[in-house]
Every structure is written in C-alpha cells, then in structure tokens.
Symmetry: C2
Subunit: 539 residues, 2 copies
C-alpha cells in the first residue's frame, strides 16, 4: 500500500459487526467461480432471510487492505491487451463480464439483462480496474435503489483513521457507494487508505484536489492540471468522478436572481473560472480528453449539477434545467467513448416539483441513471435534514432515481460525526427501500413480510433482528419492558395485554375460526347474492 | 377544576418556552374583539416573521387551567337556547362564528371562505363548548396541514403530571391537536387535567374507557354504556371522538388472510364484540343516537378505521376499502345532524398506493377531511418509524390529507417519553410543511424563503431561530464551530472558507456584477438570436 507511511495503522475501533447484527451471518453464494455476499438473518419462527449486504469482508487489517476480489478478472483483460476497460464497452460488444454476473446474482436478475441495461446506458457498474477490492454493484432504475454516503476531512477536523472508520461504518449500515470529499491536507494519502479498504465503489470530486494544487487560486486551474489530477486519482482506483462540465457561461446570468445563487462547490468554482477568463468551462471544451482517461480505467462519470437549486425558491428554474440539457449532450459524448455515465440532480425541491425533475432528466439524458442529493422538501429544518431530504429521496426513487446521496443531521450546520453518518445512512436505507417497494423490485417485500409475520406472531427477537438497526430497536423495546420474558410475551408496553389488537385478532382466529368463518362466508355470500347493497343488520 | 384532588399540582418541569425559541415572542393579532396568537421571530437581517403557533398561553398554573377564551362566545349561544352547537350547524345557517373568524385570521383566509368550507363538510373546527380554553383551529385540505400527537398512560407507566407535560411539550413544538389514549387508572382525572390545560382540541377513543367500565370483558359492552361514556367525556370537553362504527360483520372474514389481521385496538374490540354476539356493530346500528350527543356539545366524529392495514402486505385490501365505504355512509348520516366529521386512514401503505387511499377517501366520504396515521412506507424500520411514516404523511398531505397523526421513534416497540414525543412532532411538522408547500398554501413559503435568505447572507443566528428546532440547530453548529465569531463568519465548518459555494457566488455578485452581467446578458441575447443552438465556445 503506497503513501500510507505517516498514518498510524491501529485496528479499527468499531465494535464487532456481529453485535450490530445479532443472529446474522455473512454468507456467500458460490456460482461459476464467483462468491457473492449476502447477510443471512436467522429467525426463531421461520426460515432464514437473506438480504443485500454492503459491509464487505470483516476483520481484515487496515494496513493490508481488503482482498483483491476482482484482480484475476482484470488481469485477464490486461493480458489480452484491452484499452477500453469500461463495463459499457464490454456490454456493447456482447460480453458478460464477471462483474455483470456478480451483480446479477446480487440483485436477482439474469446476467443478460444486466448486460443489456449497461449496454443501453440505463445502468452503470462503477468498477475502476485499479480498485480490485470492490464487490461489484449496479446503479440503474431496474435494480435496487442505491445510496451514497459522503465522508472526507475538511481543514484539519479529522484524521485518516476517522475517515476510514466512517467508510466502514457507512458500508456496515448499508451505503452502496461512498464519496470521499476531502479537501484538506493528506488528501492523496487519505484516499489511498479509503480505497484499499473499501468494498464499495468510491467517488470523488477531482476539482477539489486540483484547486489544492493551485493553492486555491481558481483562475489558475487548467485542463492539463485537471487531467493530471484525474490520472492520479484513477490510478489510485477511484470508481467515479463528479465533474461539473455542464456549467456554461450562458447559464451564469440565470442564477443572478436566485435566492441562494450557486450552492454546488464545484459549480461555483467553475462559474468563477469562466467569468474570470471570460471563456467557456474547460471541463466542457475538454470533455473528450477527459473521456480518454475515463475509459482507460473504467471510471464512470457522475456529471455534476453545478447549478442545482439550494432552496425551494430556486427549484426547477432555467439555470438548473439549462445545465441539465448540457449534461444530456455530454452523456452522448461519453457514450460515444463507451464511458459509463450517470447524472447528478438536486438538492432542494418542493414535493410537487420532484416528478418533473425525474421526467426531464430521463428525457434530456437519454435514460442514463439519475443520482440525486435528497431532494430536501423544505428549507426550515436544519438539524433534521437527513429526514427532510429523505422524503424527497423516497419520492424521486419511486419515480426512477437510481441512487440517492445521503444527507446527515448536520447538513447546513457542521461536519457529521460517526453517529450522524449512521443516521444519514439509515434514513436513506428507508427511503431507498420504500422506493424499491413502490417500484416492485422482486425481492423488496420479502423483508417487510417477514417483519410483519414476526409482529403478528409476537416474535420480538425476530423483529429486532429483521430491523434496519437491530440494536436501536431492541434498546427502545427494553426501555419499557426489559425482562427477557417480554421477548416472548404476546403483547407489548404500548397497549398492554388487554388492548392488544393483534392478540385479540389471534384469539379470534384461534378460538372461533371454524364456526365463525363458516357463518361469515355465508353472510358474505348472502350479501353478494342480495346485490351488494350495504348490509344493515339492525338487530 | 373537578376530580383533580389526588394529582399533585406542582408546576411544570418544562424549561421556559423562550429558551426553545430564542428571539421569538408571542404576539396577538387583535381584531373585532378577537386575540389570535402567532409567534414572531425577530431577525437580525430583515423584518420579523410571524408563524402559526400552537403553544397556547404560557406560564399559567396547571391547577388553574388555561383562560377560558371562548367562554363568552359559548355563553351567548347557550343564553339564546341553541340545542345544536356544531360549527357546521351555524355555518349551514350562514352564521360566521367567532371560531370561524379566529381561524380565518390564523390561516390567512376570509371568514366567509372558512364558513363555506365548514358548511360543505370539507373542513372541521373541533370545538366542544365544554372546552372553552381551546384556541380555534381548522382541519381541512384548503388550510395548513395539521398534525396530531398522541399521549396517554397505559397500565401504570406514567403519571398525570407526565401526561400534562407531554401535552404542553407537544403543543410547544407544533402539535395542532392531541389525542389522550389513556387506558390505565385515573383515566377520567388524567383527561380532566389535560383538557383544562390544553390550548388545542383534544381527541379520545371512548371505547377504551367503556371497556374499563366492563372490566375488559368485550362482550359486556353495550350501546347504553357507550353513550354514557360519551356524555361523560363530552361534558369534560373532549373535542373529537374516534368511533369505530364502520367495522361490520361482513368485513371480518376479509381480514382472515391478512398478514397482520386487525391492528386497530378499537377495530379489534368491535370485531370481537360482533363475533361474540353474532350481531352487527352497535356503534353502527346506534349511530344516530350517538349523533344526538355529538351535536349537543359539538364533538366532532373522527370515524375510526378499525380495519386499517398493519403491514405493506395488507394495504389497500378489500377489508380496508369495504370499511371506508361504510364510513362514507356514516358521514352522510352525521351531516344530516350537522355533526362535524372527519375520517381516519392508514397505517402501512407502500408509496405507490398512497394516492389511491386519498382518491378513494374523497370519493367515498364526499370530501370530508382525511386524517391518517402516517402511513408507513415500509415495515422494516422499528426505531425510525417517525421518519418512515413521515414520508407517507408528507405524500398523502400533498394529495390532500388534512391532518397527520404522528408516530414516534418508539412505535411498534414501547411507550414514548418526552424526547420521543418531540421527535415525532418535529418529523410531522416537516411532513405537514412539505405538504403545505406542495399544495401552495399562500403563507407556507415565507419561512423557507426567510431561511434561504439567511443562509445566503451567512446570518447564522437567523438560521437557528427560523428553524423548527432552534436549540438543536444551534447545538449542531456549535459542535464544530463553537466560537461566537463563527455566528457571523462567511463560511461554515462543512467546506471551510475556500470552498464555500455561497461565498464564491456572493463574491461573484459583489465584485463583478456590473461588467460581467452586461457581458453575459449580451451573450445570452446573441445565443437567442442565433436560434438557441447549444453554444460551444471551444476556445
């Protein structure tokens, strides 16, 4: 592992995975030489349930990094002299890669379907060949809705160890990708530690590091310097780059009357550069040179929405949608190079305007996956914006958004600590799962139904273990009914035994099933026979 | 104050209101003899903002109860010999009551509009003449979306003082109505203390107390006993009753194949009664007798959804919608008596099935207001169900649901403590406000826009004070930048000064406004003149 000599390599301080997921084990589906991870939840009252799992291999030494799962697959491609390593390139040639087969097993679709979605640009498998440690995953609206968590030090507020722990903490709770937004010192070294220890794709915003290289002088940024930064990060194994190539000179006046102007860091940097030089955005004019780097490694584009709205007032305005049209144009160029591409979206959008965002993105960007930050559905809730943005995230996920960038409770206020990261991830797992249910993902309702059966059978331990956050569910229950006996009691503290509706329902079913049901069926038949008029047995 | 002799009357242990809302004052709009409360938030950078306020008079002694604001209005109606005290009755006669005028000022509509909505049954002003302490509010989809919080002791887990504190704590953070769901001892006395100290309408589920009266033997319940309980509670001043009159014999077999059966306590009690006696629900057969009690006091019906789904699996099924049709039938009967009526709804519903709930309710119940519990959009998140249900609440609010019954983080697990109550209320304020924005309530966006201007101007104190929860917003900010100087700094800990997009935008605007804007406008004009083709200044 390079460049990590100055970081201490103490073992992670996270508590054991097993304590957060009691009765769960990591299992691997082995098929055609692949080992695809799942978490299997053992249940007291029925067969175990397997769920999608992002936590990666456990108990490895951070200094060693994770095992290089994909190394042999990539080695074969290198050996045969490939020059375009993108999954889209292979898919369009008709090839089904190991990554596609892995994803197919993970999601429950056929490998052919996965390949076709990637070939069509409707799905992306972020998989830099220099990040062989990653467990392949897919971002596309036919699949599970994914979530991203952001980590990264700013100024000198956190250490490398803290960031690596936030990474592993994020994936433990379900983050599907992680963006390293570091802007401070040791940016290269921090990233190295993160990538080597990440079982999920890593994204970055390379303009941040480029700006560090010119000591913060925006006007000194150049395409050459930017490309040099891309190569540096691609070599390290970054799987997708946020690039704000859609912010054009003509858009900037459109932001003049906004309440909150430009709220994207990358967007504001590029706007400033454009205005200083009075020249067009070099990320736009140099886009094809950038594509050459991307395909050489298979880094995916996350085309940044530099002009996303930062308030309800600015949502769905001309600046935002003007940039979106340009992102569609850039998607076409990226696809010409077989470079995998998804599109970033807002931000702050009132509920009734969310669908327009999704519809326009699909139309403008030719079906490329959408990746949104929230959106927040009101501006008045600092301290709770993980939730406020989670509402918008669930809704846009239902409409087809493929990946949701989490927001933590500290959004708009400060830097998230580990607990904030967890709160953000859990909120977004809820949003993503709600969207999966709404979209009818074939596997989505299995877990809800298992939970509901556990509720109706008063299997408390199974309820805790099926929860997104088992320790919290158990702790909340134990606050009022701590005794072990309460784990099998046929009521809870909410209503007490006498008022438990589920108990009453079960009693009904158990005691009176035969005779009553017969009578009721007869009544129902009579009712139907009578023409379905409202039955009024005024006894 | 009656029946309160055994409760201690120590002053509330809640910290001063002012500490939770710094820079806020209670103000009253005085008009035509009315004094209508608002909270006015003083801002450092612009004119103060007035917001809807539910916290009621402050600093009164709990033993005295709140001032009887509505007493003189009611006294005049009694003096002239009224027998039907319902706001709907007055509205239908063309009368604009003080309550209607009060609501009109509070919401920003004309009194005539308020009257017409109440007359049509599209809105309800819960206002028992025996609860003169309440500050009139309205539930209807043309108005602010309202939220309800539930309190109430079960078994012997909490004291009267605790329940009164939860009441005041709920209204402090924004609860528009409060339901007292007590089922334990001292049920009458607890309710008395709650009503006398409540500035918001109080709802109950009278079947709980009726069941206590028959020592939990469901089969011993009778209409006479129920009516006696209604009169007792109406005399105390309860403003709305949840009554599960729509659970009919023929519905019960429809729940047989459900995953979670009947999850409403009231619903399961009535189902058990029906099956035991093999007779139709006495709340249904005796509905007109119940109406006679309701109109004498102006207690509103909250027609209970005894067959609401308790899981994603059971959503929108025949049992649920069968009962909904009966609730529509009962609405017609209630309106024949001019009894104000709203309709309760689920529960657990996946996102894509929410709209059908709203559409069917409006059609079946002739436009009567809808009042839903959530709905929860997945079943797998115990510990976070305030959030999970808040997603569904925001969405159904957007579609027209008039009131949202909160859920706390303890839902499905245990009884909420004070902090849980706050978390539930805040989550639902967010959902309700998001719905108000989506519906375009004329006053809704004022606060978002004030917040966004404060953000763009780096007015940190104004941001905290405009937040739904000022102390939390401030505390989160101070965790990373505690110094007082940071409250006026033109950046925050998230990005640091160099990467602050808002600062960059402002610099752009300040420094380069004149020349750049002129140039840009020219470019934009050129672009348009050239036919609007994508402008590609490949320099």
């Amino acid at each position: 592992m390079t460049d990590s000599s100055t970081a201490t390599a103490r073992p992670t301080s996270l508590r054991p995975w097993q304590e957060d997921f009691p009765n769960s084990t990591k299992v691997y589906v082995e098929q055609d030489g692949l080992r695809v991870p799942f978490r299997e939840i053992a249940l007291e009252g029925e067969a175990p349930l397997r769920v999608y799992d992002t936590s990666g291999p456990l108990d490895h030494d951070l200094r060693d990094g994770l095992p290089a799962l994909r190394a042999p697959w990539i080695a074969r491609r290198v050996a045969r002299g490939d020059t375009n390593f993108s999954q889209m390139h292979y898919a369009r040639k008709g090839e089904i890669t190991e990554e596609m087969r892995f994803v197919a097993i993970r999601e429950g679709f056929s490998p052919e379907f996965v390949r076709d979605e990637v070939a069509a640009g409707r799905a992306v498998i972020p998989a830099n060949r220099r990040h062989p440690e990653s467990e392949p995953m897919i971002i596309g609206r036919a699949f599970h809705v994914k979530i991203n968590s952001n980590i990264g030090n700013s100024a000198v507020t956190s250490s490398i160890e803290e960031e690596v722990e936030k990474l592993r903490w994020s994936t433990r709770w379900g983050a599907d990708t992680v963006m390293d937004l570091s802007t401070g010192k040791q940016i290269h070294e921090t990233r190295e530690w993160i990538i080597r220890n990440s079982p999920v794709p890593i994204g970055t915003v390379p303009i941040y590091q480029a700006l560090e290289k010119v000591k913060g002088k925006v006007e000194d940024l150049t395409l050459d310097l930017f490309i040099e930064t891309l190569v540096e990060q691609a070599e390290q194994g970054v799987d997708y780059f946020t690039i704000h190539a859609g912010v054009l000179l003509r858009h900037i006046p459109l932001t003049r009357n906004r309440v909150t102007g430009i709220v994207s860091r990358g967007g504001s940097i590029m706007a400033r550069w454009c205005l200083h030089h009075h020249r067009e955005n070099f990320l736009y004019t140099g886009f094809e040179r950038i594509c050459e780097v991307m395909k050489k490694y298979d880094v995916a584009f996350s085309l940044g929405d530099g002009l996303r709205p930062g308030s309800q007032a600015d949502a769905n305005d001309a600046a935002q949608f003007g940039e979106l049209e340009v992102l569609g144009e850039l998607t076409t160029i990226a696809w010409k190079h077989d470079v995998q591409t998804f599109i970033e979206g807002p931000g702050h959008v009132p509920l009734h305007l969310i669908k327009e965002n999704m519809d326009r993105q699909l139309a403008a960007c030719h079906g490329a996956p959408f990746y949104t930050l929230g959106p927040l559905v009101t501006d008045i809730s600092p301290g709770y914006d993980h939730f406020t943005s989670g509402i918008g995230a669930a809704v846009i996920g239902m409409y087809g958004c493929a990946m949701l960038c989490y927001v933590t409770p500290k959004e708009h206020l400060g830097l998230p600590d580990r607990e904030d990261v967890k709160q953000g991830v859990i909120a977004y797992k809820i949003a993503a799962h709600a969207a999966d249910l709404a979209k009818g993902h074939p596997r989505a309702r299995q877990r809800d139904d298992a939970m509901s059966r556990a509720r109706f059978s008063f299997r408390w331990n199974d309820q805790f273990n099926l929860a997104l956050d088992p320790p919290t569910a158990r702790a909340y229950h134990d606050e009022t009914l701590p005794a072990d006996g309460a784990k099998s009691s046929h009521f809870c503290s909410m209503c007490g035994p006498q008022f438990c509706s589920m108990k009453i329902t079960q009693d009904l079913r158990d005691d009176e099933k035969a005779q009553i049901d017969q009578g009721m069926q007869q009544k129902a038949a009579e009712f139907k026979a009578a023409g379905g008029e409202v039955y009024q047995a005024k006894a």
